[in-house]
Subunit: 256 residues, 2 copies
């Protein structure tokens, strides 16, 4: 399936999705053409083309995204009167927050930033992240609060495309960077099993609950929105740390 007329914001007027099968094909096309696995910054990151300071900047900024996900998921849960969905969605918060005495995704991410030599208190303060990172991540929380519950679930569908990216990232970063080891990459290895379960639930949900062409369009636009949330973060990293335009007050890597 090829989607004509997709804009930065939406599927565009030309596309009418008449079935769940067409919806899934459209969602997969959006992933193939808009997911941040295609972004030049990831090519540099996975190909060993970044220096340690640039990898630090990526991990520092991405921490804000990671640490906001359970907040986003708590908002998603709050949108549903249906207890079954709340129960199904709840494990996502646990995946990231862990439990007393057992680590979650956020702690695994801090292992990465600590392993890269960043001070954990500075990372957790988020004082040095790029303003564009903050705006993009907060847009995700506002989206799941302000849009329909169907769109809130649909915006998580980038997870359909995450495992391939994580596999490429683990192998690429371990192969190319002497400051990376399997232990600090444990966030990604763990997500290889978590993301597919989450993605298949969300995909089944939107296929079953988007019953009209308008609802299917809204589902696709929610995924386009989410691909923008991810893409904007990498554009900002590329502009600041590859092209060298670091905005006022943001993290400045020590000379490598």
């Amino acid at each position: 399936m090829k989607l004509e007329g997709m804009t930065a914001l939406s599927l565009g007027a030309k596309t009418v999705l008449n079935s769940a099968t067409e919806l899934e094909a459209a969602l997969r096309f959006i992933g193939e053409t808009r997911y941040h696995s295609l972004h030049p910054f990831h090519k540099l990151l996975h190909g060993g083309k970044l220096n340690k300071g640039q990898v630090q900047a990526w991990a520092l900024n991405r921490y804000y995204y990671q640490s906001t996900i359970p907040i986003k998921d708590a908002v998603v849960i709050s949108r549903f009167r249906d207890r079954n969905i709340r129960v199904e969605w709840r494990h996502r918060i646990e995946d990231h927050d862990g439990n007393i005495g057992s680590e979650g995704g956020i702690e695994r991410w801090l292992k990465l930033t600590e392993g890269l030599g960043l001070d954990t208190a500075y990372v957790e303060s988020t004082e040095g992240i790029l303003p564009a990172t903050r705006f993009a991540v907060e847009a995700y929380v506002h989206f799941v609060r302000d849009k329909s519950p169907l769109e809130a679930i649909a915006s998580s569908l980038t997870e359909l495309f995450a495992p391939n990216l994580h596999e490429e990232r683990i192998s690429g970063m371990l192969a190319h960077y002497d400051f990376v080891n399997p232990d600090i990459m444990s966030y990604f290895s763990r997500r290889l099993t978590q993301a597919p379960r989450d993605a298949s639930f969300a995909l089944d949900y939107v296929k079953a609950h988007a019953k009209t062409p308008e609802q299917r369009e809204a589902v696709c636009n929610a995924l386009i929105f989410k691909t923008n949330v991810l893409w904007v973060q990498l554009d900002a990293l590329y502009h600041a740390y590859v092209e060298g335009h670091i905005p006022p007050g943001a993290f400045v890597p020590k000379a490598n």
Copy 2:
């Protein structure tokens, strides 16, 4: 006054503001060091270094900011039980929306985009703007809704620094671009008289109502937030249209 330890997000822990005079000095220092008049994209825009397509991209994206301001100001009004403040703030909506039969700032901005050769329906659709523009502008609306009324007013204080920028813009763009004329620049000439009135009210308000160092810090952080809202928009334009990394589905200028 020099502020040490200002981050991308905040004034930092080192600064304690003990009076309204110190608050105003800090606000002016933030403007001198963080206002987007300092951004490289503005140097190019005002210096005649951009081609018509790049100026179109700026006007197209900035339209989303302009057209969101009355929505932002309606949210600000909604935060106040004090009728006097609502009455004072109301004219800002009128400045941008105009009245039946009289144009406001948004129509003046559409004169600019139309004068630059952009289709008004496309501009109004906002389908082609950079996702980073959308996230930054929407962050401003969320900020005035979610923060304190004092911070909501403080976030408007970038207007203290706008007149100098607008004068530089009017003279620079008229001098350098044959596709710019005084009529399509009427938005900026009109703001030369509107912005100072608005800014002086907001400055007097925060000086009178921020009574503790903590409140003065919150006022400064609101202004830092707002400078980020503006800076992020120009970073995104620079990355997409100067360095040539246009994100998927965003406006692509016709070859000049």
